[in-house]
């Protein structure tokens, strides 16, 4: 994490308000990075200025150099507009005369605070004086999603805004995550790469919904095509199966992550792991890993046993490897056998789901009955001819 001076116009900071200005010492001197220039105030007191950063920032150290300032108060706001300021720090510098006598170079305050994430930084100096320079050192690990993760917990769970934080994704992000689940790159962790502490519930929910209908409709269609020629077959759109499919798939997508999360939590208490996932991240991984089954279910309409089983293996390979590569770093610190058993169980459950869906919703293609039915009359006819 490199230290960066965020309070520079080259870093995107702006002085959006200053209560006074002098043409020789404008407010922009505060953020120009030049220690020789300064902002001077004129007029009445208190004077204030507001610095706006172009994104949420985490500030670790704040250094302000001022001259003839009696009181300094710093407020912060985390909203997009300069409203809702809350007081952060206030310092009294005592009598200006004594301060000047003690330190003719001016007063410097240095504040170290790694827990605050202010966006606007106004500083009202009271008393006669001028602001000389401002310097803000910040941690430039300004991945917005990480900071928002700290903001997410703020809404209580009975408000609507709390649930909105789980749907904070854009279209291209959803597409990226789906692509990531289809192309597992060895060594790249799906959660670290794509989710990055912004787990969403949109993907899992709608992928499961699509999968439910895809399986039900494809199963229905495949049965219809298989029994097409038979006289005794009466087509029924088996609507009951939709509810069964929905129950199975949604419980898989929620209960298995719950069990896995509980298991990881339990092991975590025994063995310190480098990587640990929150419940929502696990739900997210499982939800997106089920995406491969949607085209698989549609292709299962093809009434060939070999084709269907090849599809099962391909789908299992892709989604199983996504899951394995996600959870291997979380368990590899553990006892070797337990780690292997966990990963094997995950893949096994996945296989169980796909094979179960194939067996229940799709009738076996009975292509071998027809040739035997036509073969026997030929034999009897040949026997009748020869005898």
């Amino acid at each position: 994490m490199r230290k960066v001076d965020l309070c520079l116009s080259s870093e995107g900071a702006e002085v959006i308000l200053a209560t006074s200005s002098d043409e020789k010492h404008p407010p922009e001197s505060v953020i120009d990075g030049n220690p020789e220039t300064f902002w001077t105030t004129t007029g009445m007191f208190p004077q204030e200025f507001i610095i706006s950063f172009h994104k949420h920032v985490r500030i670790e150290k704040l250094v302000i150099q001022s001259y003839l300032v009696r009181t300094l108060r710093i407020e912060k706001s985390t909203s997009k507009e300069p409203v809702d300021f809350e007081q952060w720090i206030e310092r009294e510098f005592g009598d200006a005369a004594t301060a000047l006598a003690a330190n003719p170079d001016g007063s410097t305050i240095s504040i170290e605070d790694a827990d605050e994430t202010p966006k606007h930084q106004p500083g009202p100096p009271r008393g006669a004086g001028r602001e000389e320079d401002d310097e803000l050192l910040g941690n430039d690990d300004s991945d917005k999603t990480e900071l928002l993760a700290g903001q997410k917990k703020s809404s209580p769970f009975w408000t609507f805004e709390y649930y909105q934080t789980f749907f904070d994704v854009d279209t291209h992000q959803v597409f990226d995550r789906i692509k990531g689940s289809l192309l597992p790159i060895p060594g790249r962790n799906f959660v670290r790469l794509y989710i990055r502490s912004n787990p969403d519930l949109y993907g899992p929910f709608w992928i499961c919904a699509t999968l439910v209908f895809a399986i039900a409709i494809s199963g229905n269609l495949s049965n219809f095509l298989i029994h097409l020629g038979e006289k005794t077959y009466h087509y029924v759109p088996e609507f009951r199966k939709v509810s069964i499919a929905a129950t199975v798939i949604y419980s898989y997508a929620w209960l298995v992550p719950l069990a896995l999360w509980g298991f990881l939590l339990w092991r975590n208490s025994k063995v310190m792991n480098i990587v640990s996932y929150s419940f929502l991240e696990i739900v997210c991984v499982y939800g997106y890993s089920l995406f491969i089954y949607i085209p698989t279910a549609i292709l299962w309409i093809i009434p060939q046993k070999a084709v269907r089983w090849i599809l099962v293996l391909i789908a299992l390979g892709v989604s199983g490897s996504v899951l394995a590569m996600t959870f291997w770093p979380a368990v590899r610190e553990d006892n070797r056998r337990i780690a292997l058993a966990t990963v094997v169980t995950i893949v096994l459950l996945h296989m169980l789901l796909s094979v179960g869906c194939l067996a229940y919703f799709f009738d076996a293609p009975e292509m071998d009955h027809l040739p035997t039915a036509t073969a026997t009359p030929n034999q009897t006819m040949a026997a009748a001819k020869s005898s």
Partner: protein, 234 residues
């Protein structure tokens, strides 16, 4: 010290007009405002209220029916009008949903192994589907109210109800592949119509980077209803 007693800089020649005049504003002085504000009293409202109470029942019902009919027209010819959104009502969706569910039902005496959707199933799918899509749209940050969205989704089932009617009539003729192709064609056209009509109303309420996310569930919803209509066999 000498610098502290500097005269206020000349704001007029300041290079940044943004801060011009700020130093001259005295913060603590009150600026009095005087004047009068008059609101024109609408005395006609009271008479209007009385008249809807005193009018005949036929007038009331006809007014609601006309409003529903007007919205049907808006769905059939989707233009950029906000009538559907402004005066939402749930009568239209209710009528359409009941009609669709009744037509999708077959006589229970026909076949015990009947696997088609029951009345309750259709009802639940339509209403819970619409509620889920609305919630999804709101959670994604959409700018539409709950009932407005329900209203739009319910009204846009109209083309599919028309398709169901046509399918039922076509099925009175003899069964066969031609029969199926005709029904398939009708259902596909009506499905496209429904999706286009509802996205014309709903897409504007979403920020542009999430539009596709909000439209996809609508697509899925109408697809499932179209599937139910297409696989209907008496």
């Amino acid at each position: 010290m000498a610098e502290a007693a500097q005269s206020p800089g000349d704001p007029g020649t300041s290079p940044k007009p943004l801060f011009a005049g700020l130093s001259e504003i005295a913060i603590s002085r009150d600026i009095p405002i005087e004047g009068e504000i008059t609101i024109p009293v609408r005395s006609r409202i009271r008479e209007f209220d009385n008249s809807t109470l005193n009018e005949s029942v036929r007038n009331t019902i006809m007014r609601d029916l006309k409003s529903v009919g007007k919205k049907f027209m808006h769905v059939l010819y989707p233009r950029k009008s906000s009538t559907l959104l402004r005066d939402w009502d749930l009568w239209g969706p209710l009528i359409l949903c009941v009609a669709l569910a009744l037509m999708l039902q077959r006589g229970s005496a026909d076949n015990e192994k009947d696997g088609g959707p029951q009345f309750a199933e259709v009802f639940v799918i339509v209403w819970f589907g619409a509620v889920t899509i609305t919630l999804n749209s709101k959670l994604l940050g959409g700018n539409i109210s709950f009932f407005q969205s329900l209203c739009v989704l319910g009204y846009c089932i109209l083309p599919l109800t028309v398709a169901m009617l046509i399918c039922r009539l076509v099925l009175l003729a003899e069964q066969g592949p031609i029969n199926f192709m005709v029904r398939l064609f009708v259902v596909i056209v009506m499905f496209a119509w429904s999706v286009i009509a509802s996205t014309a109303f709903l897409a504007d309420s979403q920020p542009p980077n999430r539009r596709a996310l909000a439209v996809y569930p609508v697509f899925l919803f109408y697809f499932v209803i179209s599937w139910m209509i297409l696989t209907f066999t008496p």
